[in-house]
């Protein structure tokens, strides 16, 4: 039992560390698209690690299968819905920066070459 307890702690701390990395990245990265890249850490490994820890806790300490399955569904929903939002936000950020004439930090820009010239 003590091993499971230890595993739960490790998982939740790891999730916290990845979420912190994402949040710090949002503050430190140089431009919009790079910030979005860093923030992808939060819904992926941040969520998965915390959810795994919570599932283990629900299964081994609360003995509640219902809670464990619900947490799994929450994690799955976040994973499935997140990329669609990211994709639309990235495209919106790119298009509005082009329209406003803002300088973007891009060393190669195939998208602008093919669609915005």
């Amino acid at each position: 039992m003590i091993i499971v307890r230890f595993l739960i702690d490790v998982l939740i701390i790891a999730g916290g560390v990845f979420a912190l990395a994402g949040a710090l990245g949002v503050l430190k990265m140089p431009d919009t698209l790079c910030r979005m890249q860093a923030s992808t850490c939060i819904p992926t490994l941040g969520t998965i690690c915390v959810a795994l820890g919570a599932i283990l806790y629900a299964a081994f300490f609360k003995h509640s299968a219902a809670d464990a399955v619900k947490i799994a569904v929450i994690a799955l929903m976040i994973i499935v819905t997140n990329p669609i939002g990211s994709h639309v936000l990235a495209r919106g950020a790119y298009t509005s920066a082009k329209r406003e004439g803002t300088e973007m930090l891009l060393n190669v820009d195939d998208y602008g070459r093919d669609f915005h010239e």
Binding site: C41, T44, L45
Partner: protein, 171 residues
């Protein structure tokens, strides 16, 4: 828009019913009956937007097994990319960003969207656009640390393992 087909309604109904059972987690007759009514209504309305191709694809055990194997591959790539991104954030934010055009061999709609979503979920790469040019599909991917400039090499670095896995599931 296409017609509502019986197989599509049935498979959407099964999915809705599973979600209902998981979320309520009670097996009394009353709850289950309410679930059947709600699932059937939503399946009738939604199935024609939801399912365009073979409705019972994942009842084929080989495809299902490949999907599970793909989940494993994806998790490995996810951990690698997350650790890389965390190192980058804690170590001074060195970036070399760019949007590269990456051709892909995927044909089916589901395969294309699964691969695009997997790429977006990996930290370090975001799919900005999916386009079809001269019968060939390609992605425009924002990549935070370009190690290759040409399309094929970049594609191999970004989605080499993922594309092999998705192709086994959907093509």
């Amino acid at each position: 828009m296409q017609k509502t087909r019986f197989s599509a309604v049935l498979s959407t109904f099964i999915l809705c019913m599973l979600v209902w059972i998981v979320l309520t987690w009670s097996f009394s007759l009353q709850e289950l009956a309410a679930g059947v009514v709600v699932s059937l209504a939503s399946a009738l309305f939604v199935s024609r937007f939801f399912i365009h191709e073979d409705a019972f694809r994942f009842f084929n055990p080989v495809k299902l097994l490949n999907l599970i194997v793909y989940a494993g591959t994806f998790c490995r790539e996810l951990v690698k990319a997350n650790v890389d991104m965390a190192k980058r954030v804690f170590g001074g934010c060195k970036v070399n960003p760019g949007i590269v055009r990456v051709p892909t061999g995927m044909k089916s709609d589901y395969g294309l969207s699964l691969l695009a979503n997997s790429i977006t979920l990996t930290p370090g790469t975001i799919t900005v656009e999916v386009a079809e040019e001269e019968g060939e599909n390609c992605y425009y991917i924002h990549w935070i640390d370009m190690t290759a400039e040409s399309g094929e090499a970049a594609g191999e670095a970004i989605k080499g393992n993922l594309e092999k896995g998705t192709r086994r599931v959907f093509d």
